[in-house]
């Protein structure tokens, strides 16, 4: 068996929608991984970043991590229901997942509000006035990473909602629950790395 035939078998074993989602996920890993590498390198270079990390709300981050891990469990339960074509259960688990997404975003909004009131913004003029240019960079990257992740939470929740609505209307395309679920798990994995970097390592 030559390389070409092995490759063809590999590609053909996977449904096209899932293959497309895995391709997207690999790209997303590079995008977020690039931000995480940037964070790690700067954290090693500037000790002042550790001091800035102490201003993040560890309790809020801990609750949000629990919420996202739980939502991942809800999504796989929805996938199980999809395999049995049980629309009622699919709706139940997906609504719970969307509730988790709303809780996550609500807590993140609460955190942002407190941080902005404390003078920590994308450009942090208060820190700049004190000559803390390097510390300003910390908050720029913090808002970039968590903001981009928040947008992915919104996108994942919307995708799950529309897939659920389509399935409950038509009674077809059950496999889309798994595809949208893959995206949701990717959002969870990114947070698994963001949480310790931002909240736990000072």
């Amino acid at each position: 068996m030559n390389t070409l035939s092995i490759s063809k078998i590999a590609w053909n074993r996977i449904p096209q929608a899932r293959l497309a989602m895995w391709t997207l996920i690999a790209g997303e890993f590079v995008i977020f991984g690039g931000l995480i590498v940037t964070y790690l390198l700067n954290r090693m270079k500037y000790p002042g970043w550790g001091e800035m990390a102490m201003h993040t709300n560890v309790i809020a981050g801990t609750i949000n991590t629990f919420v996202l891990l739980t939502s991942s469990f809800f999504v796989v339960k929805a996938h199980e229901a999809a395999l049995k074509k049980n629309i009622g259960k699919i709706k139940f688990w997906i609504w719970l997942t969307i509730l988790c997404a709303l809780i996550f975003l609500g807590i993140k909004a609460y955190e942002y509000t407190h941080e902005i009131h404390a003078g920590f913004t994308l450009s942090s003029p208060a820190l700049l006035a004190q000559g803390k240019h390097v510390e300003t960079l910390y908050w720029s990257l913090y808002y970039t990473m968590t903001g981009l992740h928040g947008l992915h939470v919104v996108a994942g929740a919307l995708a799950l909602f529309f897939v659920m609505r389509n399935i409950s209307k038509t009674g077809t395309h059950f496999h889309r629950i798994e595809v949208a679920g893959l995206y949701w798990h990717m959002v969870d994995i990114i947070w698994i790395f963001l949480f310790p970097l931002i909240y736990l390592i000072h």
Binding site: V37, L40, G50, F73, I189
Partner: protein, 116 residues
């Protein structure tokens, strides 16, 4: 691969009917409970006094957690090698990025010791 079962016009596409697709299903509750346990370990580890130990423990736990989600919730263990290869390429890219940029983060003297 047979084109049987493909919609008209999609015969040339790399497409598999969802009904013919197979992957296993682990005990999701068990995986979820392990994830919660690991999550608790990382939070407790952050209370240690040595920052380097905190970093190593917490980051190692994150890698294990991410692997559990990938392998079990995302069913990566049942996916063909090409998916593993795609993810490996993504991680390798990040590895090159880290190695390429690392010299910028440490003092130059550590790399180039002047002759005396």
């Amino acid at each position: 691969m047979s084109t049987q079962g493909k919609p008209a016009g999609l015969e040339h596409e790399l497409w598999v009917p969802a009904e013919n697709d197979y992957h296993g299903h682990p005990n999701y509750l068990k995986v979820y409970l392990i994830l919660l346990g690991l999550f608790a370990i990382s939070v407790l580890a952050s209370l240690l006094s040595n920052p380097m130990i905190i970093f190593i423990v917490v980051f190692a736990v994150s890698i294990v957690k991410a692997s559990l989600v990938l392998l079990n919730f995302m069913h990566l263990r049942w996916e063909p090698n090409i998916i593993w290869f795609m993810l490996f390429l993504a991680l390798a890219t990040l590895g090159f990025l880290f190695i390429g940029l690392y010299p910028d983060t440490v003092p130059v003297e550590r790399f180039f010791v002047p002759n005396t």
